[in-house]
């Protein structure tokens, strides 16, 4: 017997930013719980609105599958004594599982290792309706929530108050107690468009009945409606709506019946930086902004009402009033800010604590500025401009606009730097050094911005590790993980040829904590922490973990160089003959680990066989080219040159015993192996590539 199941949890408005995640956790929870209970079903349909989380489980079995339970007992030799009589252990097993001791000798099975007592029981699956109460409660309990709350008299916690629930299984209404309410077959429609309760007549009609109650249950459908509506409204005024996925999702989570509406604002406001206007619209009002054919911002916005208003004009006008006063505020702040300079603001940074033991933000800018000067040689930036950018990079934090719109840090710094007649490259850097802001974001491209981005992140890492506040477990209050990953990307993808270890040293020297220097351990921890992030970096790129592992074994700290080698290994790994070289390499390593090579000089006179000589000559032949390629960092070419070595090497291993009785011969062969290993290690520890 199969029937459809509907579970709808009705709530007060769910946090919009979490709705999709919540809905997924809920439907996955139901799926897993049903599987855990061995209740078969066909498919799960998901519904999510601000006021409800719902699933329809199609063709759900009316009872859980029967299951055989296997209980293992003590091994046979313990369960029975020498006279084949059941021992105390066997009696205990019998008693615990309620079986007669006379039957116990029939219950012996082999578990693959030995004979043991074994009881097999067939458990009849429970009826699905009987399972649902615990199942639903468990699912709700297990949904991961950032913040839990209580309400009224209730002791239970959830993300928002639960106000109703519908549980229908086939034609049956289940009355289950869920967080202080009893489920039934009545739901609620749209708050204002369908204020009466709605009796759900069957699972099959749920979606349609919701629609009649002005609720579009499917998240994705609402998203489409918003997208289409916004596009159309923008087209009517000759523009294009900018619909970022994040905002689109958030807006879809704020509506049960979305109605896009357009409004406008005074085009005079277009004179202030457009980022401010977009921030007001997107972040604060959840509006979509509109751009013209030239890509420029137009004085319009699109809001999405959760209502078929009896007077939509009033809704648009209301929103226009709000944005007008918001923009007036922003303009006021911006114009005030233009009367200040970044230089003047910088002094105020002495009042802002970067970290209590490390000092103020002003001090941070001093360190960052001097690091910029030091690092300019690696990035090709103009050192004095980089220094200037370092000095001014935090000043905009005390501006009025950033005070009101903190997401505009950097962007405002750019505008104010231009207003102060700073060099345009300095202005750009002040904005671009925040990149990358998230995984997959752009990285800074101009040398000054790259310099500043590296200096700022490295200073933060060294300083915070220096005071012992490095990330522990999932706690990372200074976002050092993100800073490290940013640093890695900027250096590698920007092709910046710098030694990380040395740079950490330079950064540490600028810091003094109560007159003390940063400890050696702290510096090592920073280095290891950053290098460890490379594993994640290459994983995301889809590299084989061994490619980086083989390079990491060389303990290099130049990220750019590490990357060239890792990429070469990734290519090498796929070459036809690489396996042969890898296994030969492994063999060389094994020999050298077991036998100490005391004298590394090779004497051709001690070679006994042709095979040795051939190997030696081949090594000597390729060596200069490999070295040259390595020096030029053409690691692919270097590896290419090494591959042919596997032929004489295989030959060597087949015909020559390294461990000869003659000490001179033996040492000479070990020295040969040693030279070979050194050559292999020029690019990476190839032996680590084995599976």
């Amino acid at each position: 017997m199969y029937d459809d199941l509907l579970i709808e949890i009705g709530l007060e408005e769910l946090p919009a930013k979490n709705l999709e995640k919540l809905s997924l956790a809920f439907s996955n929870g139901v799926k897993t719980a049903l599987k855990r209970n061995s209740v078969n079903f066909n498919n799960i349909e998901v519904f999510a609105t601000p006021r409800r989380l719902a699933v329809v489980v199609q063709s759900l079995a009316s009872k859980a599958a029967d299951r055989e339970i296997i209980i293992w007992g003590p091994p046979k030799h313990i369960a029975f004594d020498d006279a084949c009589k059941p021992t105390q252990a066997a009696k205990a097993f019998a008693k615990k599982n309620d079986i007669k001791i006379s039957q116990i000798s029939e219950l012996i099975e082999n578990d693959g290792n030995q004979e043991k007592l074994c009881l097999r029981e067939l458990r009849i699956g429970a009826y699905t309706p009987d399972l649902l109460e615990d199942l639903i409660r468990q699912v709700l309990f297990e949904i991961p929530l950032e913040k839990r709350m209580r309400w009224g008299y209730l002791r239970e916690e959830f993300i928002r108050p639960v106000r109703w629930a519908v549980v229908l299984y086939g034609s049956k209404t289940l009355n289950i107690e869920i967080m202080g309410i009893i489920s039934s077959n009545t739901t609620r429609g749209h708050r204002f468009l369908a204020p009466d309760t709605i009796l759900i007549s069957s699972v099959a009609t749920y979606e349609e009945q919701l629609l009649n109650g002005f609720v579009i249950g499917r998240f994705g459908r609402r998203k489409e409606i918003i997208k289409e509506g916004a596009d159309k409204l923008a087209q009517e005024i000759g523009g294009k709506a900018v619909l970022t996925d994040q905002l689109l999702n958030e807006v879809s989570a704020l509506n049960e019946w979305p109605v896009p509406l357009i409004g406008s604002f005074d085009k005079d406001y277009l004179k202030i930086p457009h980022e401010i206007l977009i921030s007001v619209m997107q972040q604060h009002q959840k509006y979509f902004h509109v751009i013209g054919a030239d890509g420029d911002l137009m004085p319009y916005f699109i809001t999405v009402a959760n209502l078929i208003s009896k007077a939509p004009k009033q809704v648009s006008e209301g929103n226009e009033r709000v944005i007008k006063s918001r923009l007036a505020d922003a303009k006021f702040f911006y114009e005030n800010d233009l009367n200040q300079t970044l230089q003047k603001w910088r002094k105020k940074l002495s009042n802002i604590v970067f970290q209590s033991e490390v000092g103020s933000l002003l001090q941070k800018t001093e360190r960052v500025a001097s690091l910029c000067k030091a690092f300019a040689v690696y990035t090709g930036a103009n050192p004095s401009l980089a220094h200037r950018a370092g000095q001014l990079c935090k000043s905009d934090l005390v501006s009025d606009v950033v005070g009101e719109f903190d997401e505009l840090q950097g962007v405002m710094g750019y505008y104010y730097a231009l207003n102060d007649q700073e060099d345009p490259l300095v202005a750009k850097a002040i904005s671009a050094y925040y990149l990358p802001k998230f995984s997959g974001d752009k990285i800074p491209t101009c040398p000054i911005a790259i310099t500043l981005a590296i200096a700022d992140r490295l200073d933060t890492l060294v300083a915070i590790f220096g005071v012992g506040l490095q990330p522990t477990g999932s706690k990372d209050p200074f976002a050092l993980r993100r800073a490290s990953l940013g640093l890695i990307r900027i250096i590698i993808e920007g092709g910046i040829d710098m030694e990380l270890e040395k740079s950490i040293e330079v950064a540490a020297n600028k810091l003094s904590l109560h007159g003390n220097n940063i400890s050696k351990e702290s510096k090592e921890l920073v280095l290891t922490y950053i290098l460890d992030r490379l594993n994640a970096y290459y994983k995301e790129k889809g590299f084989n973990p061994k490619s980086y592992k083989s390079v990491a074994a060389l303990k290099l700290t130049n990220l750019y160089d590490i990357d060239l080698r890792t990429k070469a290994m990734e290519k090498f790994r796929l070459k036809a003959d690489s396996v042969k070289l890898i296994s030969a390499n492994k063999r060389v390593n094994n020999i050298l680990t077991k036998n100490v090579c005391n004298d590394t000089s090779i004497n051709v006179n001690y070679f006994v066989t042709d095979k040795e000589k051939l190997l030696f000559h081949t090594i000597r032949k390729v060596k200069p080219t490999v070295n040259q390629k390595v020096n030029l960092r053409c690691y692919n070419d270097a590896l290419e040159k090494l591959i042919p070595l596997h032929l004489p090497l295989d030959d060597f291993f087949e015909n020559v015993m390294v461990i000869s009785d003659d000490n001179l011969v033996r040492n000479n062969r070990l020295a040969l192996m040693n030279e070979l290993q050194e050559l292999f290690l020029k690019v990476a520890d190839i032996s680590l590539m084995t599976s």
Binding site: E12, E13, L14, P15, A16, K17, P50, K147, M149, R150, W151, G152, Y153, L154, R155, R160, P161, R163, R191, F192, P195, D196, L254, Q285, K286, Y287, T303, A305, N306, L307, S309, K310, A311, Q314, V315, E317, G318, N319, R321, V322, I323, S325, D329, N351, I352, V353, S356
Partner: protein, 319 residues
């Protein structure tokens, strides 16, 4: 189904207040009068902060003038004031239809929910000075925030059980909306023989003078000493078992802190310390208040709950 009253006449400012008072009075709230002390928000009123502690039932509504010295603009900004009005509703335990009650109250003051787009947008509230926090929303009316809606989870560092539901209406904003005026000073407060009396007639000069006082003339030295005195006295009153009196000193200290802030007399690092000082006072008061109510046997509590809670809070007090 409940008949909803839709008011279409724009209400003047005082009638708006009357309407809200009548509405919530009919829902069983004790209509209280504003606290006669300077506070930054209606939450500071003992009818919210203290009553949210412990098991006792408490429904109340009142207007509270709020003082935010740093928001003063000398009467020149049409939207910002150093003193404005909140209408505060608290219900403990929060009723099942709390949101619906609130939406009906909007309809009675001229906000027709069939015309206007009303939304609950996640906004969690926290008062670092009161050691209080809650989860809830800001309520949007056509994109404008008009109300804060919160379920208290913690007050004075104590867990709230049962939970107090709190609604805080921004009265000026609501009135500006329903009256359709662009400046708060143009709000019609009431009609008189001489014509309309506006918000500006009542408060504009006050905004000008108080902004001057807050930003320029408040005596920093005296206020700093006064803060210390309030702190000392509050601690003393707690140990003398007068938590209500001790709480007055907390409110005073908090307002002094706000004034010092407006005078830019507090650096960023000191700021955090001041907040912590007020919070530890507020926590001590909360604990003292709970103990004093427990000593009285929680007279306003649901009897079923009292026994249980008394037991719980005894355990609490023993610790």
């Amino acid at each position: 189904m409940i008949e909803i009253e839709y008011n279409t006449e724009p209400l003047n400012f005082q009638n708006l207040i009357f309407k809200l008072q009548q509405f919530w009075s009919a829902e069983g709230c004790i209509i209280m009068q504003p606290l006669d002390m300077e506070v930054g928000a209606g939450t500071f009123h003992p009818a919210t902060f203290l009553r949210s502690i412990g098991p006792e039932t408490w429904f109340s509504a009142y207007v509270q003038p709020c003082r935010r010295p740093t928001d003063g603009r000398y009467g020149e900004n049409p939207n910002r004031l150093q003193q404005y009005y909140q209408f505060q509703v608290v219900m403990k335990p929060s009723p099942e239809d709390f949101q619906e009650l609130f939406l009906r109250s909007l309809n009675t003051i001229g906000i027709d929910s069939r015309i206007h787009d009303i939304r609950f947008v996640e906004d969690n509230w926290e008062s670092p000075t009161l050691g209080a926090s809650g989860l809830g929303w800001e309520v949007w009316l056509n994109g404008m925030e008009i109300t804060q809606f919160t379920y208290f989870q913690q007050s004075g560092g104590l867990e709230c059980f049962p939970v107090t539901g709190e609604i805080t209406y921004g009265l000026e904003r609501l009135a500006m909306y329903t009256q359709g005026v662009e400046s708060v000073y143009d709000l019609v407060w009431t009609e008189s023989e001489l014509g309309p009396i506006t918000y500006g007639d009542v408060f504009k000069q006050n905004e000008y003078e108080m902004s001057n006082y807050n930003f320029r003339h408040a005596n920093i030295e005296f206020l700093t000493v006064h803060f210390d005195e309030c702190e000392k006295k509050s601690i003393q009153l707690i140990s003398d078992k007068f938590p209500l009196a001790a709480y007055e000193k907390v409110m005073q200290a908090s307002h002094i802190f706000n004034l010092l802030d407006a005078r830019k007399a507090i650096s960023v690092t000191e700021r955090q310390r001041y907040i912590l000082r007020v919070r530890s006072l507020a926590k001590a008061v909360a604990q003292g208040y709970l103990e004093s109510r427990a000593a009285l046997g929680f007279p306003l509590a649901n009897p079923k709950l009292t026994k249980n809670m008394l037991q719980n809070s005894r355990n609490l007090l023993d610790v």
